[in-house]
Symmetry: C2
Subunit: 308 residues, 2 copies
Amino acid sequence: MLDYASLAALAAVLREGGFERAAAVLGVTPSAVSQRVRALEERLGAVLVVRGQPPAPTEAGAILYAHAERVRLLEGELAAVLPAIGASQPMLRIAVNADSLATWFLPAAARFAERSGALLDLVTEDEGHTARRLRSGEVLAAVTADPVPVQGCRTVPLGAMRYAAVASPGYLRRHFPQGVDAAALAHAPLLRFDRRDGLQARWAQAALGLAGLDAPAHWVPSSQGFVDGALAGLGWGMNPLPLVEEHLRAGRLVELLPGRRLDVALHWQHARLGARLLEALTAEVVAAARASLPQAPAATPPRGERRG
Amino acid sequence: MLDYASLAALAAVLREGGFERAAAVLGVTPSAVSQRVRALEERLGAVLVVRGQPPAPTEAGAILYAHAERVRLLEGELAAVLPAIGASQPMLRIAVNADSLATWFLPAAARFAERSGALLDLVTEDEGHTARRLRSGEVLAAVTADPVPVQGCRTVPLGAMRYAAVASPGYLRRHFPQGVDAAALAHAPLLRFDRRDGLQARWAQAALGLAGLDAPAHWVPSSQGFVDGALAGLGWGMNPLPLVEEHLRAGRLVELLPGRRLDVALHWQHARLGARLLEALTAEVVAAARASLPQAPAATPPRGERRG
């Protein structure tokens, strides 16, 4: 078997972001941590950690790290039936897309944490990398708009995040004095969350038939910042309805075309690990999502719980 | 001189995150974009872009990208006096720490954008990388808690972000039935934003003399998520006062020790490029920060505008 003391040192270095911090958590000296990691590298004949600020895993390091965290999770379950084991508190690393993290996800996470006593390590979903992170085991599950099943994972539909195209009243007067039409939309500055954010373009296509929206964009990579950018008149943008409903009611924000919204289907993809904790989290997440997100109409068959 | 058509192709690939999207923005075919980038690579004898999803710059590619964006910024200023140039709309890439992005920064950004017509590309500050990004020119300026001057940059103090240690009333009853003291704090689950977030530990040290706080942590990398995590009872955490003031008044959140807050000094570091647009942005940012952030008391000499 692998040397799990060394593996724990490796995992602590990567989790805590440094050899000194890992040492503090493990209650040993930094040089002991460093020796353990080096011993593991020598035994496997591969560099596992690129030393830097913070230390970064190599591909092999990331695989071993994920393995160590899974073993820690399973060990945490043993402790429930064999308290003498005194395992450390289990931690689940979960990827969550930014708008879910800023709206419905955390109450479900808190309920799970309170009932299970487990800890959560939430990372922001990056669609481009989430499939890879799921495959390598770096995250155990993800809330994602990506429906493509990942090998070894189960995909559960969660419902849709509903987006409204909003701007401040002052912005609307400045950039759409003649009302919102395709010609004005093509030149009005908009907000984009990041390079993968095509929501504004999708809305322009769906609402006004404007293909390939190429308006000037301000980049604002924060869900709350996106709302604040609209409030401040920086640009128009697609915002999750729960984050802007009150501003719409109060007239601080207005919809470009009232009631013309866009639904984005969300999915829960999780490793088929059979760990009870992950099943408990799945149950909380799915229940919360189904209670707070609009569900696909019954007429449309759900995309199905893919079992890829 | 460099071949600026090729340089523009390289910059578009990196800015847009793909060859096809770059082609759409430049109004040429993807294969033309690809040829231009390859021509530049052949001439310089170095790979500039690692082809992937999304394409990533090599070190040399990042330097050329930053140079292209600076030239575009300066060119944008020419267009003001020589409209015939018809330069593209200038864009400024700025790093902003997450809590500033979620509180005071965007109104200043919106005023600047409206007055100048320039676009903003905001990226989330990552303390570990911001100094490097400033040095390489990848970002033109940064709102950061890091006061260490960067070569070629000017550092302007902005005032302090004030943080309160908060939790939900239910959480407080569960984890601090005997009141908040060092013994209970050492075991109560807390929230951490990311690996570099030592605010909770700093507060525990300052408020209760508890050194090296090592309580179990939930990781929540989102300013709004951090507030929501406290509201949902997931853990206690340090939140910017402007984001929690209303929740405190309404009793949805309570302070662990009422009035015991922590100030984090913020700085504006910007390239000494002499570009008028950057100076205009600096003026807006500094004015907004000084109006909305608590300033250092007059008795304490300000850390000074370092000119490192």
